[in-house]
Symmetry: C2
Subunit: 123 residues, 2 copies
């Protein structure tokens, strides 16, 4: 689901038991250093906004951030809220699963609405 | 091994068969949004410099970048050069190992020298 988009970026949900958003550039770039400097800065501003909202809403134990795109080399930033009792903690979510996945009690849709609201006026 | 440091940051090697550096702030911050905005920007400039040098020197198939710090919550940025035939590709290096690790033919020490040289005049 796309929560926000403008001329340069879009923010998408990753379906998962953990809060997980992905920030994409509209134009595909192979690596971060291929993104024009002005857009890089705008992308980090989006990232900080997402991280801030995720921290406020979910009160996670840690935020995880990553850019891999090994299969399809197209830069996007993963933003994931982590909890000490989540299925992979303290491993990254790409690492070994250590316990059963469980639902978080907070409403993900309300969080998605907050993200959409937060960014709606960004050009 | 510390390749560079100034008042605000240091760049450290991660011993691994893959080229892998870590960028730390001197002062510990829990999350990226806890870092003062001016320092965040300086940190990304360091990151872009490391990524650029890693791409030039190793000609990797992809750069992987991540910030986890789940065990000890202290922001640092991983920068890793990835190759299609490396032990984990296309998984992140925190994921399942798919083949044997092997040495890269390029001299890591020469790369480390290039990084040290590149950043030596940064205040």
């Amino acid at each position: 689901m796309i929560l926000f988009q403008n001329e340069h970026f879009y923010i998408e949900t990753e379906p998962h038991t953990l809060p997980w958003l992905k920030i994409f550039t509209q134009k595909p770039y192979r690596e971060l250093t291929d993104i024009p400097p002005k857009l890089r800065n705008q992308m980090w501003e989006l990232y900080y906004g997402v991280e801030e909202e995720m921290r406020n809403y979910f009160q996670p134990d840690k935020i995880n951030m990553a850019s891999f795109a090994n299969i399809l080399p197209r830069v996007h930033i993963h933003v994931i809220a982590r909890f000490k009792d989540d299925a992979y903690f303290p491993n990254p979510v790409w690492g070994e699963k250590l316990r059963e996945e469980k639902q978080i009690s907070k409403d993900f849709n309300l969080f998605y609405e907050k993200i959409a609201e937060k960014f709606k006026d960004i050009q």
